[in-house]
């Protein structure tokens, strides 16, 4: 809620109201955005409190002011519980710290007026402009960086801005500091978060059916994640939707705060710069600063992807690959980054030309347009690197120079341990996203068509990456925070490639088994298995009533071969010694339906080649472009319910399972941001 006060030197309030009506709402002076986000500001309701923090967790304060026409803002303040957050700090008459000088910034539209301000007087948000579209032309964005508060409870935030005619504009919001109960038993030194991207309950069940089998209604075995003693249900909404994408889906767990879709480590703002948004501190940064923990990020995706970036990166554009990988490196002293394993080599190669259409001969994807440079207020407040627009940067060389051992493939990963466990480890096993387990395992069994076509025949499996990461991370006596992501459960569910995402869940579960064994040996470890959201509305609808050969002979059979209820019986798969099914092309195979499906042609058969991933340098020509053309002319048309040519994320709650110290905190139904405060309690205050 914001209002304009014209007492004193200004016009009487009534006159102002009349003028406001004449000018229209668009020109009534107001604070149009107050950050941290709150319902108190948005609707006047005091609850729910949207923004919550651990004691001492840093976050930015920001307001967007739309002044009266022709007016400018001459002074401002952010007041928490009647105390200015901008008070200078003096010792013996000497000014030690002046937040206003070092931690604040004031941004107005400084781009060319002809392109940045429309005839209506509103901002256009065009390329080359400072502010987003639709604001008053004299809108002003004021930030106060890296604020923190240690007093538990709900606090009031009041923002005040004074115009050059002496009138003031104010707005009020709130936030909460969630206390930590000190000395509540033993703390968890190591935190391992397994994130099955897009992994809902159905994905877990499907992996169990395929890898363990059922007999007379009983599962013949459990997944490693099934053996975790505590399981809860997580609400996954983002700041701006019931249906989240992977950026807020992950970062909400490790910041305690809700982000908008596509944004990580920041709240939305009104500037076009994707790296200057108001920030809040990550779990990794908080526990590195507080306890000296290390950070490990392990993924089967490109390491710039939304989930891995949501462990340490602050940006409102999840696609800004150059800036994201640079920030991983530049701010390693803030996050404690010691392990970074996954795909995405293309972001680490020098590109002196700054051209990516086409890329330089080494395949670099680095560009100035998605790199970062930060202002003084962020650099001063957060103690982070300023950054530079430097597509020519050789980031692999810089990681090496900083003490990271670099592995380019599975053999290299093994060799990295030849001279003892390294202190720090960088593994970039593919150009973009790694190949999926279905194709990697086929390669290891001798069918190398797919991995050869992608140009990366020797990629590690996730359990091997996990083992390597835990060895390196556990060298830190202060402990670590690790994210281990099965990224392509989501990517293959989007593509409705049942055979491929099922093996992705099995691959993730094998990595979970590695961490569980680690936690058995190191009981001061908490292991969580969860997802950022469900993907595709996957459901196990039954099983084929016919043999694999019959399916192949009649790929257009569609629903005619779907056995529901007792006709589904118990599909039987044979597991090979490598831990994956010998084949998914079995008689009476398990069948999956998709509730958030786009149009697709369904044959119920495995696809020889993965559906196209345009981020790859050599996507095989045999790869179908998307599910709406895959098997066109052969399969049965299943008409979709969502637009586009891929299945979508859903808002369905997802299961979270916990093992180890503090696991008992994770029962019931809770919000994804609650997970952050549970971890904070367990890691700092103790697990009882």
């Amino acid at each position: 809620m914001s209002f304009v006060s014209r007492s004193g030197r200004g016009l009487p309030l009534l006159t102002a109201a009349v003028l406001g009506l004449l000018a229209g709402d668009a020109f009534a002076a107001r604070i149009s955005r107050l950050t941290p986000p709150s319902e108190l500001f948005a609707s006047g309701e005091e609850s729910p409190v949207i923004a919550r923090f651990l004691p001492g967790q840093r976050f930015d304060l920001q307001m967007t002011i739309e002044p009266d026409p022709g007016r400018t803002i001459v002074s401002f303040d952010f007041i928490v519980d009647d105390q200015s957050t901008l008070r200078p700090f003096w010792v013996d008459g000497e000014l030690i710290h002046d937040p206003r000088a070092t931690l604040t910034s004031t941004i107005t539209e400084t781009g060319p007026a002809a392109t940045c301000i429309a005839a209506s007087g509103r901002t256009t948000g065009a390329s080359g402009c400072t502010l987003v579209a639709g604001l008053a032309g004299n809108a002003t964005v004021i930030s106060r960086r890296a604020y923190s508060n240690s007093r538990a409870g709900v606090h009031t935030l009041r923002a005040i801005a004074r115009q050059d005619d002496g009138t003031t504009i104010t707005a009020t919001g709130n936030f909460e500091i969630v206390g930590i109960d000190a000395e509540s038993g033993q703390v968890a030194k190591n935190i391992v978060i397994f994130l099955g991207d897009g992994m809902g309950a159905a994905h877990r069940t499907a992996a169990r059916i395929v890898s363990r089998g059922y007999a007379q209604g009983k599962a013949k075995g459990l997944l490693a994640m099934d053996t975790f003693p505590n399981t809860g249900m997580v609400m996954t909404a983002s700041l701006n939707s019931i249906v989240t994408d992977s950026a807020p889906g992950m970062q909400n767990y490790v910041t305690g705060n809700k982000a908008n879709n596509n944004e990580e480590g920041v709240w939305p703002d009104d500037t076009r710069d994707a790296f200057d948004n108001p920030r809040y501190e990550y779990l990794s940064e908080y526990l590195h600063n507080l306890q000296g923990k290390s950070l490990g990020v392990v993924t089967t995706a490109d390491v710039f992807d939304a989930t891995p970036a949501s462990m340490a990166i602050h940006t409102s554009a999840r696609g800004n690959g150059t800036g994201i990988v640079d920030q991983f490196f530049d701010d390693r002293d803030q996050s404690g980054l010691a392990v970074l394993l996954g795909g995405g080599r293309k972001w680490f190669l020098p590109n002196p030309s700054d051209s990516t259409s086409p890329q330089p001969v080494n395949g670099s994807q680095r560009r100035k347009s998605n790199d970062y440079v930060l202002g003084d207020d962020i650099v001063n407040g957060w103690g982070v690197a300023r950054g530079a627009l430097d597509p020519e940067r050789d980031l692999i060389a810089e990681f090496r120079d900083a003490g990271f051992r670099y592995a380019a493939d599975k053999s290299g990963l093994d060799a990295a341990f030849n001279a003892g466990t390294p202190d720090k480890l960088l593994g970039l096993f593919s150009y973009s996203n790694m190949n999926v387990a279905y194709d990697k395992i086929a390669g290891r069994r001798g069918d190398t068509a797919v991995v050869d076509a992608f140009g990366f025949p020797d990629q590690p499996m996730l359990d091997e990456m996990t083992d390597a990461a835990l060895k390196v991370l556990s060298k830190n006596p202060n402990g670590f925070v690790a994210l281990i992501e099965g990224a392509s459960i989501d990517k293959q569910a989007h593509l409705m490639d049942t055979d491929r995402w099922t093996l992705e869940v099995i691959e993730l579960d094998r990595a979970i088994a590695v961490a569980k064994r680690f936690a058995e040996r190191n009981p001061d470890t908490l292991v969580l298995v969860t997802a950022d959201h469900e993907c595709s509305g996957a459901a196990i609808i039954g099983a084929a009533t016919v043999s694999a050969a019959t399916l192949e002979a009649d790929p257009d059979a569609g629903k005619g071969v779907v056995g529901i209820y007792e006709a589904a019986r118990f599909p039987k798969y044979t597991m090979a010694e490598d831990g994956y099914p010998e084949t998914t092309h079995v008689d009476g195979k398990m069948l999956i339906g998709y509730g958030a499906n786009a149009d697709r042609y369904e044959t119920w058969l495995p696809s020889r080649f993965p559906t196209r991933d345009t981020q790859q340098p050599f996507p095989p020509s045999q790869s179908p472009a998307n599910p709406s053309v895959r098997n066109e002319g052969a399969g049965y048309l299943v008409t979709g319910q969502v637009p586009g040519d891929q299945a979508a994320h859903t808002a369905t709650d997802i299961p979270l399972s916990a093992y180890g110290r503090g696991a008992h905190h994770f029962n019931g139904v809770f919000d994804n941001t609650d997970v952050f405060f549970k971890i904070g309690q367990i890691a700092v205050g103790g697990a009882d």
Binding site: S355, Q359, P617
Partner: protein, 202 residues
């Protein structure tokens, strides 16, 4: 009033929807004409199995441009690519028109993709093996979108070159032979003429 304001909001969208192919690039709207598959001349089209290339012309596939598997420090040109510098080759791929529109250059890509527009922050869709194709003389009209695979014959140049007009840098260039250039000129001009004819209303 609400109806009027709704119309104002919707009007730009309705206008955009009425245009055939419309992309924002460098802050301004540009339109790239398209041609139908049936209008692609035999000299360019790939229909069924291609015969052997003409005498003196070497077949070069996208998968042969770089050493495989990919090296630990990124892609490296293959020996075959290096050996073909200055030689005549035939390549088969998809035409990717440039933005801003160009009349004498385009990209040839192993995938049917588009160049993301200027403000797109996501990774570009163009595979690194895409080749910059040059016409020895301007087509006299914007190089259009051409559906399906095309075959191109020309002289290969290997080495990093910056395109003065677009600032794009390419590592492999193909300068087209005269017959295929003529075919592209005709096609581009016909596409430009068709684009000027207002579409039928349904």
């Amino acid at each position: 009033m609400p109806a009027l304001s709704l119309l104002r909001r919707l009007l730009p969208g309705l206008i955009l929807a009425a245009l055939p192919v419309f992309v924002h690039a460098h802050g301004e709207a540009v339109s790239i004409p398209s041609v139908a598959a049936r209008d692609v001349p035999r000299a360019l089209a790939v229909r069924g199995e291609l015969g052997a290339p003409p005498r003196g012309v070497v077949e070069l596939k996208f998968g042969e441009l770089f050493r495989m598997p990919v090296g630990p420090l990124g892609l490296e040109p293959s020996d075959k690519l290096a050996a073909l510098d200055g030689r005549r080759v035939r390549m088969v791929g998809y035409v990717v028109p440039l933005y801003p529109p160009a009349e004498d250059r385009f990209l040839l890509s192993p995938l049917a993709v588009d160049i993301g527009h200027e403000d797109e922050s996501l990774a570009d869709n163009i595979p690194p093996s895409a080749v910059m194709v040059r016409l020895p003389e301007s087509a006299g009209a914007t190089i259009p979108r051409i559906p399906g695979l095309v075959q191109l014959t020309g002289t290969l140049s290997v080495g990093s070159r910056e395109d003065a007009a677009s600032g794009r840098v390419s590592s492999v260039q193909l300068t087209l032979d005269a017959p295929v250039t003529r075919a592209l000129r005709r096609l581009s001009r016909e596409a430009a003429r068709s684009a000027q004819t207002p579409p039928h209303r349904h």
